[in-house]
């Protein structure tokens, strides 16, 4: 039965794929309450501030974006894995040291650090699916301050921080099965030797605590509200290497990781060490994991704000699976069978990918193929699972979105303080919703009011490539932690007095930037010298940033109040080059310049 349903779904999916090509065939009005309404309550007038911060991933743009919600105004783009000439990320010595020469990346999931089930305003964490890393963003500066490289993993995808008692661990799943020690030895084409790892990272020191290996692939991640379990959906229990192989069986898994058992295994040295990393065996029967069979090729897993349920989305099955987290102790104790933990499996529509919550007992699931948000009642779904009633459904409301939604997230929904005000539908396709800008069109993030029984579409927001996921955080949890200026002394090289120092052919120019003058008016070096510029913005009032750009030397960065950044270049081009301030700072900003003089090598 499941397989016939699967066939229908897949053929519809293909059909949707084809219709992408013939966009522009008139706007598709949303059904039911889908007509766009603009409510004055949700307007943020000029000069007013938003109620929520939205932290969005930027996909293969490599960045993280900060939006104000409900205005959907983009407030900041935090460069993470990309080069950003605006701020100098990927150009300065500080950022290059963190990036380790890899300046592309793919951010999917941004999550905040927690204290007792809600955000503590300290850090954000974001993955790099491309080069298999995780970055930490300091909320006070909203800049990346640490990166950890994750070996033994490819497709480092699902990421989730510990929610209780506070974020000590962050888990990161590898979506692509790979050979563990991927060093070219062995038969690399023999997929049966591949596996997926659930990597545990210490949030404070950004070191890998351990990796739990599984034979399956691990996609999205979640943690519970008690500090006991983490979760991963697995869509390739077949261990296939081609798409046909990956879709062979009717059931895949929700994999549950038992933290107590993991800690015990670590304490008892029950691990092997590969490339300096503790590797725990997480195959079935080790007690570290449970594999709960759910309909084939699931995608998102999200935890209800009361901490009771893990909801896994079917993707190719039109259902979601509700797993009772309170039954997991019994499952690990061997008192029940894995499927006994499943307490509901409502049919919600085609292509369910992710679920979010309003804190009032309702769940909202994104339907990629149907291009809909579907609202359903969790308790009703559970009741109907044990007591099916002909003609009854847990579905409360449906809203057409535009088009092909991936992730969806409600305000505060990944905390115990879910408040059910706003829902974001992160749509992959915008088709006809905006002026045509050529073949590469923006995505469409739609804002939906969920404070009523019916969902109401409020806004379309074009987004550059490609937000996958977001969190929506109450302003009062973030704003008090964000500073207007850095702590000057925090950078070990902070400059309060400008100077030039030479040791052999290495020249260090320490420069203050204070509107509208640099602390040096000229730096004179010899061709071939290795020159390090260290620039501190000694202006301390909010929003007075200075740029530092060296003409023809491909160097440009910006320093915020009391920040220090540095860059090292080889002075290989003789001549006089103006260094200038790129960031408007003063009425005499254009005059904020200094000269960089490179004497030709004597022949």
């Amino acid at each position: 039965m499941v397989s016939t349903r699967f066939l229908i779904v897949l053929s519809v999916a293909l059909a949707v794929g084809l219709t992408f090509g013939c966009a522009g065939g008139g706007s598709q009005e949303g059904g039911g309450s889908g007509a766009a309404v603009s409510h004055a309550d949700h307007e943020v007038a000029p000069g007013e501030l938003d109620d929520y911060y939205g932290f969005f991933s930027g996909g293969h743009s490599g960045e993280v974006r900060v939006l104000g919600i409900p205005s959907m105004r983009v407030l900041k783009r935090i460069p993470v894995w990309n080069i950003d000439p605006g701020s100098g990320w990927g150009i300065t010595n500080e950022s290059r040291a963190l990036l380790g020469g890899m300046q592309t990346g793919d951010t999917h999931h941004v999550h905040g650090s927690y204290e007792d089930g809600t955000y503590d305003g300290k850090w954000l964490f974001v993955n790099d699916k491309l080069n298999n890393r995780m970055a930490r963003i300091r909320v006070d500066l909203m800049e990346v301050d640490a990166v950890v490289n994750v070996p033994h993993a490819q497709g480092a995808h699902g990421l989730f921080p510990q929610r209780y008692p506070s974020t000590e661990w962050v888990v990161l799943n590898s979506e692509f099965r790979t050979p563990l020690s991927n060093d070219g030895r062995g038969d690399m084409l023999d997929a049966s030797t591949y596996g997926g790892v659930h990597t545990i990272i210490n949030a404070a020191d950004m070191e890998i605590v351990a990796q739990v290996t599984t034979p399956v692939n691990l996609d999205l991640a979640a943690t519970d509200y008690q500090g006991k379990y983490s979760f991963a959906t697995s869509y390739n229990s077949e261990g296939g290497a081609t798409i046909s192989e990956m879709l062979a069986s009717d059931r895949d898994y929700l994999v549950v990781f038992n933290w107590e058992a993991i800690k015990e295994a670590l304490a008892n040295n029950n691990y092997r060490i590969v490339d300096d990393i503790k590797i725990l065996d997480g195959t079935e029967g080790t007690g570290l994991t449970a594999y709960i069979p759910i309909p084939k090729n699931p995608h998102g897993v999200n935890i209800s704000p009361d901490g009771n349920y893990a909801v896994a989305c079917g993707k190719v099955s039109p259902t979601v699976s509700i797993i009772d987290i309170n039954k997991l102790d019994d499952l690990f104790a061997g008192n029940i069978e894995p499927r006994d933990a499943v307490v509901g499996e409502p049919e919600v529509g085609l292509g369910p990918l992710h679920t979010t919550f309003d804190g009032r007992g309702n769940a909202y699931t994104s339907l990629f193929i149907d291009s809909q948000e579907v609202k359903w009642n969790i308790q009703k779904a559970i009741d109907l699972y044990s007591n099916p009633v002909e003609g009854e459904t847990a579905v409360v409301d449906r809203l057409d979105i535009h088009y092909q939604v991936g992730h969806t997230m409600a305000s505060m929904a990944e905390t115990k303080e879910a408040d059910g005000k706003y829902l974001i539908s992160l749509n992959k396709i915008s088709k006809d919703r905006f002026l045509n800008v050529g073949p590469l069109k923006p995505e469409n993030d739609q804002l939906i009011d969920i404070s009523n029984d019916e969902m109401i579409l409020l806004k379309d927001e074009p987004a550059y490539i490609e937000p996958h996921d977001c969190i929506i955080v109450r302003r009062d949890l973030i704003e008090p932690h964000v500073v207007h200026r850095a702590v000057l002394e925090e950078h070990p090289l902070a400059v309060t007095q400008s100077s030039v120092e030479r040791v052999g052919n290495k020249v260090t120019a320490r420069i203050t930037a204070s509107a509208p003058v640099y602390g040096l008016q000229e730096v004179v070096v010899n061709q071939g010298d290795e020159v390090t510029f260290i620039v501190t913005n000694t202006d301390e009032i909010p929003d007075l940033a200075h740029g530092f750009a060296i003409s023809n030397y491909n160097v440009s960065f910006v320093v915020g109040p009391f920040q220090t950044k540095s860059v090292t270049i080889t002075a290989d081009k003789p001549g006089m080059y103006w260094i200038y301030c790129t960031n408007f700072c003063h009425a005499l900003h254009l005059e904020m310049r200094m000269r960089f003089v490179v004497n030709p090598r004597s022949t």
Binding site: V483, Q497, S499, P516, E540
Partner: protein, 242 residues
């Protein structure tokens, strides 16, 4: 050490340096009204205050080694011109030659007749800070000194520059001035124990920051006060300007 004789050719060379490097801030009349004096720089407790470039026509200087009311020594001026004054917009000038710096100092003296009428004061002798400075004990005693000397009236109980008088202070030029927020980062007059000692011993002429040379005759009490100031400076980092 540099003798500091104001030779005519020094003054001429000094004017050239001044016109190239200083005039934009200190003005062609030396009155601190150069084109630049229009940017706000210090912010504290929601108040934004402009720090104007020094008016050389008054012949009044803040960062000296000499007693309150006296002219600074040439070494004092040389230090300021070379190193600059952190967090005030007065840049360092390490990229011009020492001779040029001497010359420009000779030149700025021509803006005030005080320099023709008075000799610079005699520098205070400041010994190296005793080993106890920075200890909890010394700082504990310094806290009492801070209270008796009523530093907190201006600098506040936690050194954040938010004491009861802090909002109404003006300097000799009638401009608003803020008592320094010790917790906000490096001090203008320098942050080493000896520099902090110097600052409250000499006072900052032209500002409400008085000299405590007479009020605090006891050497140990002075160093204890330094210890306490350092403790305050190590206090709450960052600034959310709320």
């Amino acid at each position: 050490m540099w003798s500091g004789d104001t030779l005519a050719q020094d003054v001429e060379r000094g004017k050239a340096v001044y016109d190239s490097r200083c005039v934009i801030c200190h003005g062609d009349q030396g009155d601190g009204k150069g084109l630049i004096g229009i940017v706000h720089r210090a912010q504290q407790n929601g108040m934004v205050v402009t720090i104007y470039p020094r008016d050389f026509t008054a012949g009044v200087y803040k960062f000296r080694s000499t007693p309150s009311g006296d002219l600074p020594t040439d070494d004092d001026l040389m230090r300021i011109v070379t190193e600059g004054i952190s967090r005030s917009g007065m840049p360092s000038h390490t990229d011009i030659s020492e001779a040029d710096r001497q010359a420009v100092i000779a030149y700025i003296k021509t803006f005030s007749k005080r320099w023709a009428e008075e000799e610079p004061g005699t520098p205070l002798v400041i010994e190296a800070a005793p080993a106890a400075v920075g200890s909890g004990e010394s700082s504990g005693r310094g806290k009492d000194v801070y209270a008796t000397m009523q530093c907190s009236k201006c600098h506040g109980d936690t050194g954040k520059g938010d004491g009861p008088s802090s909002a109404d202070l003006e300097d000799s030029w009638g401009d608003k001035i803020l008592p320094f927020d010790f917790t906000s980062g490096p001090l203008k007059g320098g942050s080493t124990p000896e520099m902090v000692y110097r600052t409250f011993m000499t006072g900052l002429d032209g500002t409400p920051m008085p000299s405590y040379q007479d009020a605090l005759p006891e050497e140990q009490a002075r160093w204890d006060l330094v210890s306490y100031c350092l403790e305050l400076m190590a206090g709450a980092p960052g600034d959310t300007d709320q």
